[in-house]
Symmetry: C2
Subunit: 521 residues, 2 copies
């Protein structure tokens, strides 16, 4: 009898203890799918007056799920299966399931019910306060709620536990294994390449004419175009749907069988919609590619937020902003908006898509400056959670850092410290965006090694070879492997920020025809 | 201390026992709303491959609801509240709640879990068999499942109990208080007026030119038109939504705050969509008019299927096929399909909407022949459940009765005995359609007494006076009163089929300019 795990994507159905655990977990997966359905509906279809009813529906469902996740029965079933795992040859899927279930169970049981309820209540109050605060351009209205949220996050961190900093516990919650030290190390390279490239671009004196991106674009046409682009990249509508919502998002109610995406459109600025469509499409492809054997369990998800973001960024940036992709699909744009595009060359359009320009709003940022926005948030939220400065200093520190890294200062708090909803409840989330960019570059590198004619094939209109590779090396595994192990398996190397540094440098030296960098010896 | 109940629409919040019961019931209402949401989504948005996942989600939700509905805790809470009701002054809402809860609890606890599961399984198998059977025009494929369904219905009837016939137990399930005897009495008048009117119309030799209803009508335009007509009749989009589905329906996830309707469109035949829109609109107005005080309880529903159908029929037939209504709103049709309607007079269109012609398909039937379709189904299902003849005879008996009542014989089983999905699981449902027509005529009569200038006001485009009256006298009460009591309260008289007889006679004598009926002395 061997204790080594088998690398197949299926659960060991012969083991009684594992089966009993799975039978307990499946209905929880089903209830979580219903929770996601309630949220999807709320954002895509629910009438305005139905909010209070929906709140009650979500509350009872969350309470039933929490009850089941923390039940003694679950603890016993889990322990039994863990004991069996130490004696029998379990598959990687089995071990992944035990790891994830242990993680969920421990988290859930470490947080008392009162804390969980306080979290939900505070979150809702905090979102309200943030909205008022934005509307009045007055951070002070939000500050007391932010104060309470940080106190609560510290309490969560203390209860869950951490090795070095309280902030570590929060990072790990979104990205298993992530620590403050790791994020700091990653930002060393990222900060260097971003600031240096930005400086070189600005010193080059070049500006790109982005007028080809502006005009009048009817939302209905944009929606049809989004649909077509999703089909182009292989998103499966027999397992999915595209709807409209205020903010684009991807969700599933039983991956890989029911994975839906949404989009929203700016009538004046085309990239808002088409790039968000490619981005959500990337998330959607990931969830549709998870092995059906993992359905109805916690493994039928993305390995982490960072890995998920690597997929969306790959399709949005590496593919969706590439000349090769549009060489094949520019016709779709011309067909959707013939008047607008009749005199615009494809190369002009693609170059405009890659304009670099420091701006105030993260979600509108280009690839070079994007991670500087994240860096600022990371430094600030880490400081807040670790108690290095007071909430009141936040607007000042925010503005100072924007001046320092991007050379601009927000004229209002609404366009500054109040721009993201995250701090109403999420701390430790922002770094996963940058992590996604890094993973995406490393994966792209492997793809280009595997397919030496990557660009040529892409230019023929084919993206299926990319999707097939992603499915085989990343998607199908769901949460079986931890993010770093998954990257190691897929690319043959531990996560390495150098790929992103090289990608960014090569890409933007080319877009801006930059002279070679001076090396001071 | 008085034991008389107070006719206000609110629960007695001072009573501890009633409060405890309400606190127990509210989350059940929330879970039932989620079940309805899952079904709505399945019919309006769910991708094709997601069926199995959805089946699991619905199964766990149903099982949680059933568990809570049959729990001993619920029995105790209910008994306590019932005892309190005999000592204190409870409101009509309180008493309605106790009546409904007792009914649900007794039904649920009388049926063992195995039977409930068998019902669900058989229903699903039966729908599959029915679909195959239709596709092959072969009743024999469906017969064994129908046989099993009837056996199961008989078992349900035995367990729930009945006074005279097993079929009574099934009728009562859809329409509290309804019995075989009552349905038979009602059909005496209905059969007489329907067959007599049909004969007189046929003898008059008149036919109506209905070509104005046929043409090419783009579904998107029809959908916009449906939306507009819903707004015209007062359907509130801040508490509702209109979507597309294969079969039109109305549902709610927390009436009166979230009540949604669907529609579907025939590109060649306009009334299919607009009449279904008015019909579902009638259901939707009812649910949106329920008192918010009843939200999250079993009282936030229609009083019965018959009462619900009275609302949809009122808006579809009495209003939606009236000359007065179209006098005001014909412009919407002309605006939606200017080419088609430019040479068609409004009177021609309305007359065509009221064409009487025996046909094979119930859902396409006119007002005169509609109830004959129901009569046939009633006679046959009553006989099946009471064991008067074998399932095998059904196609023959069906055809014989169509010949007898409508003078036509279905050329295929698909257009005959296999046309409705109901018998895959529902027996005792059909009569509520006719009941709805009867109630609707009685309500219309009261409306016309209350508003002597009913037609004139309708012709100005105003329907709000109708809706206000319906809200005040019917909608707001939800399930507080039993259907017959509700009709008595709203119209000042017990249900009386004569109003329908008069309505139908007057309307179609006028539509067809029939000579006065000969009275044989």
């Amino acid at each position: 009898m061997t204790l080594a795990s088998k690398s197949t994507i299926s659960f060991t159905t012969q083991n009684t203890y594992l089966n009993a655990l799975l039978e307990y977990l499946h209905p929880i997966g089903d209830l979580e799918a219903l929770l996601a359905l309630a949220s999807w509906d709320q954002q895509t279809a629910m009438p305005a007056e139905a909010g209070v009813m929906r709140m009650h529906q979500v509350a009872i469902l969350e309470s039933i799920i929490h009850e089941r996740l923390t039940a003694q029965e679950m603890g016993t079933l889990l322990s039994n299966a863990e004991k069996a795992a130490s004696q029998e040859s379990f598959t990687d899927a089995d071990r992944g399931l035990l790891r994830q279930t242990r993680r969920t169970y421990d988290h859930a049981t470490k947080l008392p019910k009162s804390l969980v309820e306080e979290k939900a209540r505070l979150r809702s109050e905090s979102v309200d306060a943030w909205q008022k605060s934005r509307a009045n351009n007055d951070f002070a209205l939000f500050a007391p709620f932010l104060q309470r949220t940080i106190a609560l996050k510290r309490e969560v961190a203390e209860r869950i536990g951490y090795t070095e900093f309280p902030y570590d516990a929060l990072l790990d919650d979104f990205e298993p294994g992530l620590t403050t030290r790791k994020v700091e190390a990653m930002f060393q390279s990222v900060r260097a390449v971003s600031t240096s490239l930005l400086q070189r671009i600005q010193q080059s004196g070049q500006t790109i004419d982005a007028s080809s991106l502006y005009g009048h674009f009817a939302p209905e046409q944009q929606h049809t175009l989004s649909d077509q682009l999703l089909r182009v990249i292989g998103y499966d509508f027999s397992r999915g749907q595209l709807a409209r919502s205020q903010h684009p998002f991807t969700t599933d109610f039983g991956a890989p069988f029911d994975v839906r995406v949404t989009n929203r459109y700016d009538e004046q600025y085309l990239p808002m919609g088409i790039m968000a469509g490619m981005h959500e499409g990337g998330h959607g492809l990931y969830a549709q590619g998870i092995s059906p054997a993992l359905a109805r369990t916690a493994l039928a998800n993305g390995a982490s937020l960072g890995i998920h973001e690597s997929q969306s960024r790959l399709w949005e940036n590496a593919i969706g902003r590439s000349s090769a992709f549009w060489q094949a699909h520019y016709g779709l744009l011309q067909q959707a908006f013939p008047e607008h595009f009749k005199d615009i060359e494809q190369a002009i359009f693609v170059r405009a898509l890659n304009t670099v320009k420091p701006s105030l709003i993260r979600v509108m940022a280009d690839e070079v400056t994007y991670n500087l926005h994240i860096l600022i948030r990371f430094e600030l939220e880490k400081g807040l959670v670790n108690g290095e400065f007071a909430v009141e200093s936040l607007p000042r520190l925010w503005n100072e850092r924007y001046q320092q890294y991007l050379g601009i200062t927000p004229p209002t708090e609404t366009e500054g410290v109040l721009q993201d909803v995250h701090w109403t409840s999420q701390f430790g989330y922002f770094p996963t965006y940058t992590l996604g960019n890094l993973y995406s570059a490393q994966i792209l590198h492997t793809l280009q090694q595997t397919f030496p004619d990557f660009q040529e094939q892409l230019a023929t209109g084919d993206t299926s070879f990319i999707l097939t590779w992603l499915r085989e090396h990343i998607h199908q595994y769901g949460v079986i492997y931890q993010p770093e192990e998954l990257i190691q398996r897929a690319t043959g190397e531990a996560p390495n920020p150098q790929y992103f540094v090289d990608y960014l440098t090569n890409k933007f030296e080319s877009v801006y025809n930059l002279p070679p960098e001076q090396v001071n010896n």
